[in-house]
Subunit: 457 residues, 2 copies
C-alpha cells in the first residue's frame, strides 16, 4: 500500500506537466477502513494528507507542496462500483472509479450519468465530487453537487461518516455531505458516492452553428432554453480561432462550415422516448436561421459526424496545449454580461500583452468563460511567465468589476489560493476558518489548499 | 418592531392549530441591518432566537418552546423582491416574501419559479430555504436547495454573510450557503435569497389516471421518466380513499373517473416552446393504456379542468384536516421499495390500531410517501394520542427496516427531534455538534430544533 521514492513521481506531477513536487510517501488504500487507518497513522506521525483521485485537477488541489511533511493518499485502488439500481435511478460507486468506466457501466444498464468533461477517461469520481466538477452538461443536469445523493467520508479523526443513502429526498436537518462537496479534500476524504442516474438519452442531435456575434450566441441560448424546454444538454461557445487551433492538433480535421463567422456554437439537444429530438432541433434551427440569429449551421446526420463536431471543441484545447505554457482561466459572470465581459477582458489583455492571442470559449449557458491567453512562440520561460502574470492581472481587474468568479468549475486548489484569499469577505473567511477548525482541528487535511488556515500551535 | 403580549399569539401557534406557545417578544425587523441588530441585542440579553417565516412549517421548527428565554424574529416585513433578471434566469428576493407573491411576480416576466407546495399562499421564501422545502415539482426541478444560487444570512455573532450572487456557476471552495439550507434557523437567519428561474411552461398537460396497483404506479413513473424525457413536472400518487376525503371537504366535487381503482396518479407534463406537450402526453397515455399499465384516465382539456383534477389532491388533505387530529408522516424510501413499504407499514398500523384509516399518498417519483393515519370519530383526546403514538411507532419500525427517512421534505423541527436523535449515527452527531459549536458557540439560534445540542455552561 505504501509507495516512496521514484514510484511516487506520477502522483507528484500535475496534469499539464507544468509542476512537479514530492511527498513523504504515497498511500494507496483498498478499503474505507484502510483509508481510516492511513489517516490515523498520518495524524499520529504528525504528517499531513493530500487526498488524490485521478490527479487530473487543473488547480494543483491534489498535488503536495510541502514535501517534508505531506503524504498523498491516492484513492485509485478503491474503484469498485458497489451498486447500480436502474429501477431507483441511482448507483453507489467508490471514489477511485474512473468517470468514464462508471459512465460505461451505467450505460450498460440503460442509464446515464450526466457528468461529462474532457478528463473523463482519467479523472475519478471522488475527485469530481471533491472539486464539484462542472463540464459540458451542467446547464441541464447541474454541477456534480446536484448529482450526489450521499457520501461516505473518512474524517480527520479517522472516523467514518456513512451517508451512502440513495434516497431521492431526505430532509433530516443540516445536510453534512454538502461541506465535503467542493472542499477539495480540506475537510476529509471522500471514499464512496451515491449518485442520481438519468435515463440514457437514445436520441442526440448535435449542431455546429456560425453566428455574427457573441451577443447573438447569448440570444440564441435564451431562445433555445425556452423553445427546447429542458432538452438542451450542451451549448458551447467557440471563437473563430478555434478551428485553426484544432487543426494544429488534428491536421486532417474537416471544416464543416465556413470559418468566417464571429462566433461558433456547438449545440446538443437530447432525450429519450417519445419526443422526436431531431425534428425539434430542425424546427428550432430553421426558425432561428430565418430570423437571422444563426448565420450558418450543420446538424450531424450520424454519430460519427456528431463526434467530428465535438472534435473541434477538443482539438481546440489540444491545439492550445501544443502552443506550450499559457494562461488558462475558468471565469464566470452573469449570462447577460458575457459578451461585454469578454470584449472588455480581451481588450485589457491586449493592452498589456499586445503580442498574445486570446481564446475565449466555454459553457455559455452557465456564464462560464475560459478566457485563455497564448503568448507568441519563441519566448523564454521568464518572458512567458511575465505575460501570463500581466494578462491574469488585467483579466482579474475586469472580472472584479463584474463581480465575477475566478473559479466557475475548476476549484481553488493551490493555484488560485492567493487570488481567492485577496477577494474573500471577512465574514466568509471567519466562518470558513471556524468550520475548518471544527472539522479538522489539527489542520491535517490538504494544508495549503483553498485557504491558508492558521496552523495549530 | 417589537410585539409582546397578545399581539404575539399568531407567531406562537402552529399551522395546524395543534400547538400554542409563548415568547418573550416577537421582533419584526425591516432590513438586514435590523436583523443583525436584533441578533446582537438578544445575545447581549441572554435570550435565544427562533427565526420565523410564514409560520406554515409542519414540524414546529419555527415555534418557540421555552417561553421564558426565546424571542421570535419574524422576517415577514422583509418581503421585497430585490431583482428579477429574466435575461439571466435569476432573481433576488428577501426572506419574508410570500412564495406565491414571488411566483406571480416572476410569471409577469415570463419566468417560472418551480417551488410549488400547498402552503404557497402563506409560506415565505426564507422558510422554504431554511427547511429545504420540497413539494410537487421536485422530480423535475429539485428541492429548494437546487434552486438557490446565493444567500444573505445574519450569523449568530450579528455579522452578515453576503452571498447574494446570481452567478450560475461559482466553484470557489466550500459552499457555505449549503449549511444554512435545511438548518431550520439553527445556524443563522436567512435574510435574502438569490434563485434560479426557469422559462414559464406555456403548455401544461394534466391527467388523472386509475391503476390496478401501486406497483403499476411505480412502473408507470419509470416509463414516464424515460418516455417523456425531463418534461414530467408532477407525479402524485393517491389511494382510493382520496376521493371520499376530498368530497368531505368539497361536497360538490365531480368524480372525473371511476373510483374503483386501487391506485390513482395525477400526472403533469409541461414545457415551453416547440415541443407539443399535449401530443406527447396523449401518445404516452395511449401506449401505456394499450399495454394495460393504466386502466382508466382523463386528460384535462382546459385550465379549469386541470385545476379541478388538482382539487382532488388538495381536497384530500382538507378532508383529512376535517377529521381532526391525526398522524401525519413524511417518509421516504427507495423508489422501487415504495409498494412493499406502503403495504407493510399500513399492515403494521392496522395490527396495532385496527379502527384507523390509513391514507398513503405522495410524490412517488421521489419515493416520498405521506402515510397518514386517521383515528375513528368520537374518541377522546387521550385515545387519539394513544393511537397516533402506536401508529407512529409501528410505521417507524417498518421504516427503519427499509433504511428510510422520517423526514423526506418537512424537516425535523421540534416535532421529530426525538425520533431523529434516536437514529443518528455517532460520527454524524459529533460532526453536527462541532459545526453548531463553530457557528453558534453560545447556542443562540433556535435551541431545541433538530437536535438538543449541549448548552454552553
Amino acid at each position: 500500500m505504501v509507495l516512496s521514492g521514484p514510484a511516487t513521481e506520477k502522483y507528484c506531477r500535475d496534469w499539464h506537466g507544468d509542476v512537479t513536487s514530492e511527498a513523504v510517501a504515497v498511500l494507496r488504500p483498498r478499503t474505507t477502513n484502510e483509508v481510516a487507518d492511513a489517516v490515523k497513522t498520518c495524524a499520529r506521525l504528525g504528517l499531513s494528507i493530500v487526498p488524490q483521485g485521478g490527479n487530473t485537477g487543473l488547480v494543483l488541489g491534489a498535488l503536495p507542496d510541502r514535501p517534508a511533511d505531506q503524504v498523498v493518499i491516492s484513492l485509485e485502488r478503491m474503484n469498485a462500483i458497489r451498486r447500480i439500481d436502474p429501477d431507483d435511478f441511482s448507483a453507489v460507486v467508490e471514489a477511485g472509479c474512473i468517470l468514464s468506466d462508471f459512465k460505461d457501466a451505467v450505460a450498460c444498464e440503460g442509464m446515464f450519468f450526466p457528468l461529462a468533461l474532457g478528463a473523463q477517461g482519467s479523472c475519478r469520481i471522488g475527485g469530481n465530487v471533491s472539486t464539484n466538477a462542472g463540464g459540458i452538461n451542467v446547464l441541464r443536469y447541474g454541477m456534480t453537487r446536484e448529482l450526489v445523493l450521499g457520501l461516505e467520508c473518512v474524517l480527520p479523526d479517522g472516523s467514518i461518516l456513512n451517508g451512502l443513502s440513495t434516497l431521492r429526498k431526505d430532509n433530516r436537518g443540516i445536510d453534512l455531505k454538502q461541506i465535503f462537496i467542493g472542499a477539495e479534500g480540506t475537510l476529509g476524504i471522500i471514499t464512496a458516492v451515491a449518485v442520481k442516474l438519468a435515463p440514457q438519452p437514445d436520441q442526440v442531435a448535435t449542431a455546429l452553428l456560425g453566428l455574427n456575434s457573441l451577443d447573438d450566441a447569448i440570444a440564441l441560448f435564451r431562445r433555445a432554453r425556452r423553445d427546447c424546454c429542458d432538452l438542451m444538454s450542451a451549448f458551447e461557445f467557440m471563437p473563430p480561432v478555434a478551428f485553426g487551433l484544432a487543426r494544429e492538433a488534428i491536421p486532417d480535421l474537416e471544416m464543416p462550415i465556413s470559418g468566417d463567422h464571429a462566433a461558433y456554437v456547438l449545440l446538443e439537444i437530447s432525450g429519450s422516448g417519445l419526443v422526436d429530438i431531431n425534428d425539434l432541433t430542425e424546427r428550432f434551427l430553421q426558425a432561428v436561421m430565418e430570423e437571422g440569429l444563426v448565420a450558418d449551421g450543420v446538424i450531424a446526420s450520424s454519430t460519427a459526424q456528431a463526434r467530428n463536431l465535438w472534435l473541434f471543441r477538443e482539438g481546440m484545447n489540444e491545439g492550445q496545449a501544443k502552443r506550450g505554457p499559457h494562461l488558462r482561466t475558468d471565469l464566470s459572470v452573469r449570462l447577460s454580461q458575457v459578451p461585454d465581459f469578454v470584449r472588455e477582458a480581451e481588450q485589457a489583455v491586449i493592452d498589456v500583452v499586445p503580442d498574445a492571442i486570446c481564446v475565449s470559449y466555454g459553457h455559455i449557458g452557465d456564464g462560464n468563460v475560459h478566457l485563455n491567453v497564448l503568448p507568441p512562440a519563441g519566448l523564454s520561460r521568464n518572458e512567458i511567465e511575465a505575460r501570463i502574470h500581466d494578462a491574469k492581472k488585467a483579466i482579474n481587474t475586469v472580472l472584479d468589476a463584474y463581480n465575477g468568479s475566478l473559479s466557475a468549475e475548476h476549484g481553488i486548489g493551490r493555484l488560485k489560493r492567493t487570488e481567492h484569499e485577496a477577494r474573500i469577505a471577512p465574514a466568509q473567511r471567519a466562518l470558513l476558518a471556524a468550520l475548518k477548525q471544527a472539522v479538522d482541528p489539527q489542520g491535517l487535511m490538504n494544508p495549503g489548499c483553498q485557504l491558508e488556515y492558521e496552523r495549530p500551535s
